[in-house]
């Protein structure tokens, strides 16, 4: 296992794209979060806004880059034929997959932590100037606040789970474009379809089982009783999706020719 971990770490580390994608994840997350915070206006106060959640808007875009990174970690090997070398070196294929998952999770946890805390910092600096701050009766964005800490840690875990979901999907589908299409479709389409159903209970059920809407419930720090699903349960739903994708990918990896 240690050898596999080292091999996967070397492969990911030495790809120029890995570094760029990690940088892009952090930069886009922070940029979109800061832009969303700067766009909010609440001059008269009393807006039903959630400061932490606004500060973490960038996750919606950042997760797409994380998905690309995870998909390319597998599909890139299929594209170049590298996968045959990997599996020859690690004949126990699930070990190879687990090593990939572990290395990828580590990288995303580090990058995600930087991106999330930088986003919250941007929100804490920008939002009070737009009528959403402690002087207007909103909770301050600080890491010592329980709900804010939950939103921050949860968002980092969310990104890691998105990476695992993408890794599983890419292992199952192999082809990079199809895999990224499937992952982004899974994330972005549920809420759109939910809106169109025009049926409140069906729409709520869709939001409860959708990987993105359920998973991002973790970002809420106010109005928890209006959420379709409670924060940690929502992250659990995403974890179930990620586990399902990994199991499916692992089964196909074992049974198929590379």
């Amino acid at each position: 296992m240690r050898g596999s971990l080292y091999a996967e770490w070397t492969k990911l580390r030495t790809l120029a794209s890995t570094c760029w994608l990690l940088l892009a994840t952090a930069a886009l997350t922070v940029a979109v979060s800061a832009a969303a915070a700067a766009a909010v206006r609440c001059p008269s106060g009393g807006c039903a806004d959630d400061p932490a959640k606004i500060s973490l808007t960038g996750i919606y875009l950042g997760q797409a880059v994380v998905a690309v990174l995870a998909v390319m970690a597998v599909s890139g090997e299929y594209g170049t034929g590298m996968i045959r070398l990997t599996l020859a070196a690690t004949p126990r294929r699930l070990i190879a997959l687990a090593a990939k998952a572990a290395v990828l999770t580590g990288l995303i946890l580090v990058t995600g932590t930087i991106a999330v805390f930088a986003s919250l910092l941007a929100g804490a600096l920008i939002l009070p100037g737009h009528g959403i701050g402690p002087s207007h009766g909103y909770p301050a964005i600080s890491a010592s606040d329980g709900p804010v800490l939950r939103a921050a840690a949860g968002s980092v875990l969310y990104l890691a789970l998105i990476a695992l979901l993408s890794l599983g999907a890419a292992t199952a589908l192999r082809e990079a474009a199809a895999a990224i299409g499937a992952v982004l479709g899974l994330l972005y389409l549920f809420p759109i379809i939910a809106v169109f159903t025009g049926n409140a209970s069906l729409s709520r059920h869709l939001e409860q089982i959708a990987p993105m809407t359920a998973g991002l419930a973790i970002q809420a720090t106010t109005g928890l009783n209006t959420l379709p699903i409670s924060p940690w349960a929502g992250l659990g739903v995403l974890a179930a999706w990620a586990a399902g994708a990994l199991v499916l990918g692992g089964m196909l990896l074992r049974s198929r020719d590379a």
């Binding site: 832009a35 009393g46 690309v68 990079a176 990224i180 299409g181 389409l189 159903t197």
Partner: protein
């Protein structure tokens, strides 16, 4: 200075060459089984989701009556076929033939139901300013909902107006009416033509407008009215479904010096509450009605005489499946280009067609045509089968003209084709399938998601996002128009786009054209 000269074939380009090129690209497309299956699946998903939406939407408020649950809910239709709100208190008498009615309005006040409740009942009412409360003179073909009409009226905060047939609206004198600054209103009927005037002092009159109500019967109903639409308060820039609170309101207007000339056969006034269904829209504890003392009247009413933008299912909900189909199409579009690079097929393609821009054009045409045809088939089936299903399951369908239906169906198919070409061009620029798919999905679907589906962006930012990103093209789906004289939440999350349908579509086309131009540039400059 170094210039790179692209390799060019010495053979003269033949006209027939492009047809061959198209044929070659079509052959490449149809012989990849995965792409053909993906397109067929996209069509099927669009149709099936349309059928599901048609049979599972329940937006009509169902009431439980003596005969069990009933979901008939009829939205009145105006003379132009548009769905309208037509609820007001009407103090009227018949007008036979031509005639004139003049009145002085000295006050217009509104009350809103307080949002505080005690044992489920509101505890009090409170004074409110309802911008589009209305009171004044109206000449209508009848007191049934949806009748043709013309009116001059004072409003809560939009001055004096002349309005007709629900959608027509012309401004007259500005300012709010009060005892110190009364408004004089006059309506004159001559055949089918009704002319509205207003005046601040009752001596010098200004014509606001003259409208023709075709086929107006000789005897019409004319008189005084008052109405006031529900009060909607937006509590946040961050629009969420829970942030708006609405409460019924009603308006009371004081009229005096009613004067009439012409054919007024009756001798007394009749008060009618024009509304549909048994529910009174009035504020609890207040009654609609009128009081008369000589030629002075006080009229209280609630509702609106305006186009209806809140009820009825717009037909674009039947096209929800298109978003799923779109992801499939975007993946195929990107792969149609990037697949050339992996086995080195691109070198054969470019050797066969040394003028590289033409090879790209042929690809774009084949992909666009296939996507448009598939989108048209899917969207047309979803909408045309879905509408009867919606009606059968008791939902009022927002009436759309045939032209609007064609625009929504064909425009949606064309939009899918434009986005597919955008994916193709990004594939040529990035030469990386996953990269191209990610960029195109985050450029097309993500802006729509963050502004319309889960509105996490504030309304002002959302409008800008839908003006400048490729997602602007989704405006082509908008069915219900926005009316300046109706206060409603005209935000992307309520299906209103900041750009007009074809303007939004043009923005998407511009992005695709820009990407294609860049792709052609890179294709020529780079080694394959």
């Amino acid at each position: 200075m170094n210039t790179i000269t692209p390799s060019r074939s010495a053979a003269p380009p033949a006209r027939a060459g492009f047809a061959h090129l198209l044929h070659a690209e079509w052959t490449k497309f149809r012989t990849v089984r995965g792409w053909v299956i993906a397109v067929i699946v996209a069509v099927l998903v669009t149709v099936l989701l349309g059928l599901f939406q048609g049979s599972h939407s329940h937006v009509a408020p169902c009431t439980t009556g003596p005969n069990g649950p009933a979901c008939h809910y009829v939205i009145p239709a105006g003379p132009g076929g548009e769905s309208v709100t037509d609820t007001f208190y009407f103090v009227h008498r018949p007008l036979a033939g031509d005639g004139t009615i003049t009145v002085r309005v000295t006050s217009l006040t509104e009350v809103a139901e307080s949002s505080q409740t005690l044992n489920g009942r509101p505890v009090s009412t409170k004074p409110a300013v309802v911008p589009w409360s209305k009171a004044g003179l109206i000449i209508t073909a009848g007191s049934g909902q949806g009748s043709a009409y013309a009116a001059v009226l004072v409003t809560g905060s939009h001055g004096t107006r002349m309005q007709w047939n629900y959608t027509g609206d012309t401004a007259g004198l500005a300012g709010r009416v009060s005892a110190a600054s009364p408004r004089w209103l006059r309506l004159t009927r001559a055949g089918d033509v009704i002319t509205g005037y207003d005046s601040a002092g009752g001596t010098s009159w200004t014509k606001i407008g003259a409208v023709t109500l075709p086929g107006l019967a000789p005897t019409v109903q004319a008189g005084l009215f008052a109405t006031s639409p529900g009060y909607a308060q937006q509590t946040s820039q961050q629009i969420t479904s829970a942030s708006g609170t609405a409460a019924p309101t009603d308006a009371t207007a004081t009229f005096g010096r009613v004067g009439m000339h012409g054919g007024w056969p009756g001798s007394s006034w009749t008060g009618t509450s024009v509304h549909g269904g048994p529910d009174s829209p009035y504020v609890t504890g207040h009654e609609a009605g009128y009081r008369q003392a000589g030629s002075a009247f006080t009229v209280t009413g609630s509702g609106d005489i305006a186009p209806d933008v809140t009820d009825g299912v717009p037909i674009d909900v039947l096209l929800a499946g298109l978003f799923i189909a779109l992801i499939t199409v975007l993946v195929v579009g990107a792969q149609f280009m990037t697949a050339e690079y992996r086995p080195g097929l691109i070198r054969v393609t470019l050797a066969a067609s040394p003028r590289r821009g033409r090879a790209l054009a042929a690809k774009a045409i084949v992909l666009g045509a296939v996507t448009f045809a598939a989108g048209l088939a899917g969207a047309a089936a979803a909408v045309l089968i879905g509408i009867p299903l919606l009606r059968a399951s008791g939902n009022p369908v927002y009436p759309a003209t045939a032209l609007t239906e064609v625009r929504v169906i064909a425009g949606t198919a064309a939009l899918a084709a434009v986005f597919a070409v955008l994916a193709l061009a990004l594939g040529a620029i990035l030469r990386h399938g996953a990269g191209a798919v990610t960029v195109v999905i985050t450029a097309v679907i993500l802006p729509y998601l963050l502004t319309a589906a889960i509105p996490v962006l504030p309304a002002g930012a959302a409008d800008w996002v839908l003006r400048v990103t490729p997602a602007a093209g989704f405006a082509i789906r908008q069915v219900i128009p926005a009316y300046p004289q109706v206060a409603a939440s005209y935000t992307p999350s309520s299906d209103y786009f900041p750009l007009a349908p074809w303007a939004g579509f043009a923005v998407s086309c511009a992005w695709a054209a820009l990407a294609l131009a860049l792709a052609a540039h890179f294709l020529r400059r780079r080694d394959a």
